[in-house]
Symmetry: C2
């Protein structure tokens, strides 16, 4: 019975994800699902991305958190439309929560929607939200062994942003070995080492993202 | 129906947790459930703890990971009994997985059992394994706002180990503010700032743990 329920949940999620997808297509919105461990730097990455896209593309944001609206407040200060989803204990966003949030966003005025998922390297990878791209922010202090332990997330990502490279002098973390491990799991993945603190490498990620949106 | 299934799962988990508890009591084993985000330093903390407890108390370890046995191999080198649980996608340990692992451990020879949970700041807090203590490893690079976003985990912890304090000079992280935030959620919690890299603060945690085991 438990397995059937799980199937029902995933089937229902996929149906709603397809409806989200149709809504995005009708409004010509390109959607990025940003996933990561807690504290890897999802919000900082979104903030740095928004700043660099000003005047180039209209951005909207959905902020997913179990509780609090700290991140939405930080992003609202950048002057972009933002909606906070509080999952109330749930460890991931699903298509239905996303769908509910979309009603509060001016989709017709948005070209790029960044969805910040709940901080979790496991469950978010299982739930399609209707997005175009899945981006994983993986930070250097987490260690370069993470792809071995959380393979699904690394397998599902279209791009892995290796954040906090400013801390590399103080850590045992081999960026090349990390990138090779990821490519062993996922041959199509793009890997962008960067630092949201110093700004190093962020332009390269944003240029690539812009190419994806306009492509 | 979905809610009923969740209740059934939690009820079944609690029953098995009680059986684990009885088994631990019969064998006089003190059990610690170690939880954290991916990469916060659970395995390093367990390794440093084992080293300091040599000759003082007999330790055993259960390693929970979605996949891989990297951590169990590292811990096995310290010469303590260790069992790896691969959850096969599940984002947390539950009482039943723990029960299965216990059959492979010489419980009668162990006085302290350290259980490393799956790296996840959400779901593990919901599943009682039959433990005496819940310990949360929270690392400085994750940021000092985490208690606001993952309140259940901080509420459930008996001790929070603030790991990677060696990185404080390179981060915006206020240890005192962090400790105060945690105490606002959880008045009984013990907070131990430490670094598994430099060893700073680890003795204080291990002394306290030893007091819990022998108390």
């Amino acid at each position: 019975m438990e397995i059937k329920v799980v199937k029902d949940i995933m089937g229902a999620n996929e149906q709603i994800a397809q409806k989200n997808r149709q809504l995005f297509d009708r409004n010509q919105v390109f959607v990025v699902n940003v996933m990561a461990s807690p504290g890897a730097g999802k919000t900082s990455l979104i903030l740095e991305t928004i700043k660099r896209l000003k005047g180039k593309v209209k951005v909207g944001v959905v902020e997913g958190d179990i509780s609090s609206s700290l991140d939405a407040e930080a992003i609202g200060k950048e002057g972009v439309p933002v909606v906070q989803i509080n999952t109330g204990g749930e460890c991931h966003l699903d298509a239905n929560m996303t769908s509910t949030a979309l009603g509060s966003l001016p989709l017709e005025d948005i070209r790029l929607l960044l969805i910040e998922n709940v901080g979790n390297l496991v469950c978010p990878a299982e739930f399609n939200l209707g997005e175009d791209l899945r981006v994983l922010v993986s930070s250097t202090p987490e260690g370069d062994d993470k792809p071995f332990k959380y393979p699904l997330m690394f397998h599902e990502a279209d791009a892995v942003l290796v954040n906090k490279i400013d801390l590399l002098p103080y850590l045992k973390f081999d960026v090349d070995a990390f990138a090779n491990t990821i490519r062993g799991i996922n041959q199509k993945v793009k890997v962008f080492p960067l630092s949201c603190t110093t700004g190093e490498g962020v332009d390269r990620w944003v240029d690539w993202l812009l190419g994806q949106v306009k492509g």
